[in-house]
């Protein structure tokens, strides 16, 4: 079975308090030199059958209508190697 990964991140202009909270905590934990942190979601889909263009198109549609809310989020779809 093939794995397709959909990454969903908040659009750059939207405030990401989760990422900020991580970033703020880092120096306290002794980790310096991280200028910015953004936190998003990663979906791993196990796809039955071949992952051809048609399948990817369907997954793209699924991401656009369901996995991401495109009012606030961007997404990428890729086949995991």
């Amino acid at each position: 079975m093939a794995r397709v990964v959909v990454d969903v991140m908040l659009k750059p202009e939207i405030l990401d308090p989760q990422g900020q909270a991580v970033q703020r905590a880092l120096p306290r934990l002794g980790f310096e030199g991280i200028a910015d942190v953004r936190q998003g979601k990663r979906f791993e889909l196990e796809v039955e059958g071949p992952v051809d263009d048609a399948a990817l198109a369907r997954i793209h549609e699924m991401a656009e209508t369901f996995l991401a809310n495109t009012v606030i989020e961007d997404f990428t779809v890729r086949v995991d190697s």
Partner: protein
């Protein structure tokens, strides 16, 4: 004859029975609606109550939006039926795009439960006619995904058209843009807000205030006196 108000239960809805009680206290007849049924049982209005439908997994309201009952709600809302989304219900309404914008995790990242002061900015919707414009009310707020966001253009449009229905007072509890607590569609029949009017309808319970009753009495007047 009184009006019939449908109260939808999705899997994971929590405030359905509370909403039914509030509807009843206001003198309306609550009608339970089930997410799998397209049939709205000839109700005159619908409330989408609070809770964690589908656990709020993925995004709050994202999965419920696709339930059969919502197909009918969307059709009816577009035809002018009064629809109120409270908290999770508001989130569902934004996911369906009946209302613009989206709801994100609170800026402080915590669930917050408190008595929240609001200003009623628009007293002409189906759900706010019993208030005065500018009136200040206090009702409970309780959520973790309550931060309202939309792009600047949408926000400006909402402001210009008087569609910001409620604004937070005395401190923005979650980072919502422009202190927006609730909005309405252009027609004024679809309203969504994060705070919980249905939890402020009895003097003894909760915060001890009844400021939320006006939502339901507004509807009663609209439907019965119409």
């Amino acid at each position: 004859m009184t009006a019939r108000v449908g109260v939808i239960t999705f899997p994971g809805t929590l405030d359905d029975r509370d909403t039914q009680r509030a509807v009843r206290i206001a003198g309306l007849e609550p009608v339970p609606l089930w997410h799998r049924d397209k049939d709205l049982k000839q109700v005159d209005a619908v409330v989408l109550p609070g809770g964690f439908s589908y656990g709020d997994y993925l995004r709050a309201g994202a999965i419920s939006r696709f339930s059969p009952v919502m197909e009918s709600v969307i059709d009816q809302a577009k035809a002018g039926m009064p629809v109120l989304g409270i908290c999770n219900g508001f989130q569902v309404l934004t996911e369906t795009h009946l209302l613009p914008g989206a709801m994100l995790r609170n800026n402080h990242l915590h669930f917050i439960c408190r008595d929240q002061k609001l200003r009623v900015e628009n007293a002409q919707t189906a759900w706010t006619a019993d208030y005065e414009a500018g009136q200040e009310i206090s009702v409970p707020l309780k959520n973790i995904d309550g931060r309202y966001v939309a792009d600047e253009r949408t926000l400006d449009e909402l402001e210009a058209e008087g569609r910001v229905a409620f604004r937070y007072l005395d401190g923005n509890p979650n980072g919502s843009l422009r202190d927006i607590a609730g909005i309405t569609n252009a027609a004024g029949n679809v309203v969504g807000l994060m705070p919980h009017p249905e939890h402020a309808v009895e003097p003894l319970i909760g915060t001890g205030r009844t400021d939320g009753l006006g939502f339901f009495t507004s509807l009663l007047k609209k439907l019965v006196n119409a």
